[in-house]
Structures are given as C-alpha cells and as structure tokens.
Amino acid sequence: MENNVILSVQDLDVKFTLRGQVLHAIRGVSLDVYKGESLAIVGESGSGKSVFVKTFMGLLDANGYLDGGHILYGGQDLAQFRSEKEWLTIRGREIAMVLQDPMTSLNPLKTIGKQIEEAVVLHQGLKGEAAHQAVLSCLADVGIDQPEKRAKQYPHEFSGGMRQRVVIAIAIACRPKILICDEPTTALDVTIQAQILELIKAMQKKYDLTTIYITHDLGVVANVADRIAVMYAGDIVETGACDEVFYDPRHPYTWALLSSLPQLGVKGEPLYSIQGTPPNLFHEVRGDAFAPRNPQALKIDFVERPPFFQVSPTHKARTWLLDPRAPKVDPPAHILQLREQGVNRHG
C-alpha cells in the first residue's frame, strides 16, 4: 500500500488574510492519498475541507496562501508552484474537479457540446470531426441519451441531475488521474443523488481514477468511501478505513458527529447534539480544537495538541484518549451500539 501513494500532503498550512487579520484555515495537515482508492473527507461547513482540496489545484482565493508544507504529486511539490503556467500542467490534466452546484458550474451561454469540446481539444489534442465524435462518446459515457441532439442544447435545457452528468463528462474528458468531487450531490434529489454516485463509481472503475469526495453527508460517505478522513477546525482528527471509522471511531468529534444522526435517534427522545460552536480560527487554537465542546475532555486537551495515535495499520486518531497514560473513557452509548452492529454483521 505504501508504494501506491499518488498524492502526499505534508504539514500543510493555509492562511487567509481578511481585513488585516489572519485566519489559519488549515493547521498543519498531513494526508496520503492512495492510487485507485476513494477517499472521503468529512466535516462541517467551515472545517476547511474545500479549502484543503483547492490547494491541490492552485485554486485558493486571492487572499489565501500556503504557509509551509508540501503537496507531493508525480515527483513535484505543488506547494512550490508560483505561476499559472505550472498549474495548467496539473489542473484538469492530472487532477479534475466536480463542483457542488451544476447550475453554476456550466456556462449558460455555450452549448453543452462546445463546453465538453473545450476539454477534449485542450487535453486530448483532438480537432474537428474527431473532437466532435469524442464529445458524443463522452456524453454517451455518462448516460445521456441522444448525445447528437443533447450536444446542441444549452445548460438550461437540462435538469439538475443531467447537468451534473455533463460536469462529470467534462471532468472525465480531461483524462485526469485524480477526480475531486466537492459535495457532488448536495443540490440534487435523493433518487438522482443515488444515480450520480453510481455514475461516479462506474467512471472510477472504467478510467482507473482515484477519487476524493468532500461531503458532510455521512450516508453518502458510507456509500462511496474506501477510506475516511474526518476534518474539524482546519485539522484532520481521524483517518481510517470506512468500516473502522463508522463502527469503531476513536475521536470524540467523530463520536459526536455519528451520535447526532437522526437515523440513530430514538423517537420521542431528544437527539444527541454537540454543544457550542467551532473555534474561531482567527485566534490561535490551543490544545485539541474540539476540547471546549467535548464533555469528556481531559486537562491536557486544553494545553497541548494531541499527536496521532495509531489504532490499526490503517486507522489513526488525534486524541489524547488513545495515549496509554489516559484514563479509560467509554464512548457514548450510540457508538457502543454501532460497534456491536459492526462486529455482529462482520461475523
């Protein structure tokens, strides 16, 4: 597994300057992405998950900058890139992205065919009739009927789900190695969502892609992910294989997140809810960022930032609870119930 790292992020720091203040959006994050896997990054809005993946493509807003760290991909350090020209060798060609809202990510003034053709011409080097044929096969690939007719239509003539298919077609037409899906189905209905997720999975298989999903919907995560990274306040607090994180979570934030799902609630009783709000990243965070909201926080959680503790070869969490010196703290009842479920059904 170790040799198959396709993208490696090391100690990445991202900061934004806003009205003279500095916002520390990503706080020393390291993450390896393995070839062919599908990785899901889970977190609440404002946790920095979108900012994190945007750094892989050089798409940070103008007031954002990298403040140390490395992004290793294909023998290069993307964190050292300065010019747009360098980024163009990566963007689309190596790493492509599917954004949340298909209503806004397509150009309303160009036909669907033209928009896919741009990608085909630029990245596959085709021209004229060959390019046109490639566009049609792209559309057929993502399950759009009558590609000949649909290619001549404009985005407003497509439904939300169909538009998202087109966006995926454009991303795939670049023949990338990594496909980043940033909340790919949040704007869609559940029945359409299921179809789009199936499509992305089919494309991953067909083109041998590595996919990174960003989402806050744990249902989607359970459906698509091989591996999960849980993000909180600009830091990854737990990573592990899908089943490890769902059935044997170790970080108190992951516990809280899973416990507050209505699917696990008992009717008539209040749902578990996380008290308080995420920390203000304009100020320096001391210790474990989740400690102020964690009823079981230890003293050291407020003083020193915990390192990662390895739970299994694939599973690690950043919490002092895993330190051998820590007192034994039982996870909440919901989590114990999940663990039991996982164990029983695995046999």
Partner: protein
C-alpha cells in the same frame, strides 16, 4: 385507530395551478389529507413534486384552484372575511428552508421577530412588544440581547432559531416547517430538531414538516405522506411506511436514501421508479384506498389487490 383525535387541519381535493388559464400547469392535483391536533405530519417528495406549494396554499400565499382547506373545520382558502384572514395569519406560521436567505439582511433581529406583530395590528405598546420578542428569543435558546444585532452576525443554526422565534412570537397553533434543516450541518440539525420537538411538547403545537430527506422525517413525524408530481401516492404512520412501503415510488425513494452504515450500503439494491409501470387509463383509473388501518395507497384495482396480498 385515532378517530377520536381532534382534526386541526383538513385538506380536501386541493388543486393548485400555475400559468395562464388556457394552458395551466397543475402543481397540486386533488390532494386530500388531514392533520390531528398536536401531531407532526410529514410531507415528502422530490423537488418539483408540489410539497412546498401545498404548504404555501394552506398559509394563503398561493391561491387555490379547487378544493377546500379547513382549519378547525372552517374554510380558510379562497375569499374569507378580513377578521378570519387576520386570525389565520396569526395561528398558522411558517419556518423556511434557508436561514441565510429568509431573514432580512438590513433589519435588526428585533424588527425581524416582531414584524408579524406590527403587520397583524396587535396594538401592543413598545414595552409589551419588546417583552414578547425577548421571550420568543429565550424560548428558542438565544439571548434577549441578540435583538439589537443583524442576521449576518449569527451562524446558520442561530439564524434558523431566529426564524423559529419569528414564527413563535405570533403564538401560532400550527407551524408549517418547509425543509427547516436541509441547509444546516449535521451537528446543528440535531439542535434544531430537538428545539422543534421541545416546543411541540411545551405548547401543544402541530407541525406540517415538509422535507425530501426521509430519514429525518421518520425520526420526527408520526404520519408521512409521500407526494409525487402533485399527487399523494402513499400515506401511513411512519413506522408502517418504513416497514411496508407499497407504492413503487415510495420504495424507490426509500432505497435511494444513503444510510450512514457501510455494510448495508454495500448490499443496497437501487429501485427505479417508472411511472409507466402502472398502466393507468380511463378504464383503469388510479384509486386511493386504505389497505390496512391508517395506511393509504394509490393504485389501480389490480395493484391494490396485490398490495393487500403482500401485507
């Protein structure tokens, strides 16, 4: 089973159409249901199914093209007296989906919360009004001092609380919650759901809960109606509906919800709904019947028989 319960709101053959007379678009097509006092009734469907339109028709924002809406047994749609209109406007309130978009950016919380009081001619002194606003804010777990702030100073969850306070200040009996938690984060959702059920217990409120996420609806609602293209296709108590979904559309919807459970997700079989599978025709019209106590389904004669056999 619950026949002795008081019916608060009844919708009979409600139709809502949009567009010109010559070429109308029927968004809601002869929908009927009733809501008991004190219950939470869920209305579930995809975007474009007409679920929000039903809510808006009940609260008199959209005019109805046919049918009746009865509140406490009195008709409240179409032309009604001004006094009745005032009363209904006060007693039925709505909570909206996106707390970022539904609050006036340029008004202070104080004004946002008391706007209903102003426009409903409640003749309160300034002192009384302020007290009511402070009370409503503390009821939803916000500090009364927040009245002097602007919406942009609040997080999504807090804004949704302001939206709820805005509805509560009118002392309503019935609240239409239109996707109140869809725009919120997972951890905030739980807070808002808890708040809604706490308020219901304390004040005996009745909710119409409009949503597309069946898993949330199952948790909070006692009965659920599934709506497809402006028609209710299935209505049952929530556990009944999840245990025996009968209509193919309900089944497709249930199979599509992603469960936060990797093992069952891997085994999942997606069902796809094709409206042509019913084969409805003038000779074979869709019927609306009760197949088990409290469980209604739409289907042709043959389909209904098959549903009954399955139970």
């Amino acid at each position: 089973m619950a026949d002795n319960r008081e019916i608060l709101l009844e919708v009979k053959d409600l139709s809502v159409t949009f567009g010109k007379k010559r070429n109308p678009f029927t968004a809601v097509d002869k929908v009927s249901f009733h809501i008991y006092k004190g219950e939470t009734f869920g209305l579930v469907g995809e975007s474009g199914s007409g679920k929000t339109t039903i809510g808006r028709a009940i609260i008199r924002i959209n005019p109805t093209a046919g049918g009746d809406v009865l509140f406490h047994g009195e008709k409240i749609n179409g032309p009604i007296s001004r006094a009745k209109d005032r009363e209904v406007t006060r007693k039925i309130q709505m909570i909206f989906q996106d707390p970022m978009a539904s609050l006036n950016e340029r008004a202070k919380v104080d004004y946002i919360v008391s706007e209903g009081l102003y426009s409903n001619g409640s003749h309160l002194t300034d002192q009384q009004r302020r007290e009511k606003v402070a009370q409503a804010l503390s009821d939803v777990g916000l500090l009364p001092e927040f009245a002097d702030r602007f919406p942009h100073e609040f997080s999504g969850g807090q804004r949704q609380r302001i939206g709820i306070a805005r509805a509560l200040v009118m002392e309503p009996e019935f609240i239409i919650a239109d996707e109140p938690i869809s725009a919120l984060d997972v951890s905030i959702r739980a807070q808002v759901l808890n708040l809604l059920s706490k308020l219901q217990k304390e004040r005996g409120l009745t909710y119409l809960f409009i949503a597309h996420d069946l898993s949330v609806v199952r948790f909070i609602c006692e009965r659920i109606a599934v709506i497809h293209k402006g028609r209710i296709v299935e209505l049952a108590e929530s556990e009944q509906l999840f245990a025996h979904p009968l209509h193919p559309y309900t089944r497709a919807l249930l199979s599509a919800i992603p469960q936060p459970d990797p093992i069952s997700e891997r085994k999942k079989v997606l069902e796809v709904y094709d409206p042509a599978c019913h084969g409805y025709s003038p000779e074979n019209p869709p019927l609306w019947e009760e197949v088990e106590p409290g469980h209604f389904v739409q289907g042709s004669r043959r389909e209904l028989d098959a549903y009954r056999a399955r139970l």
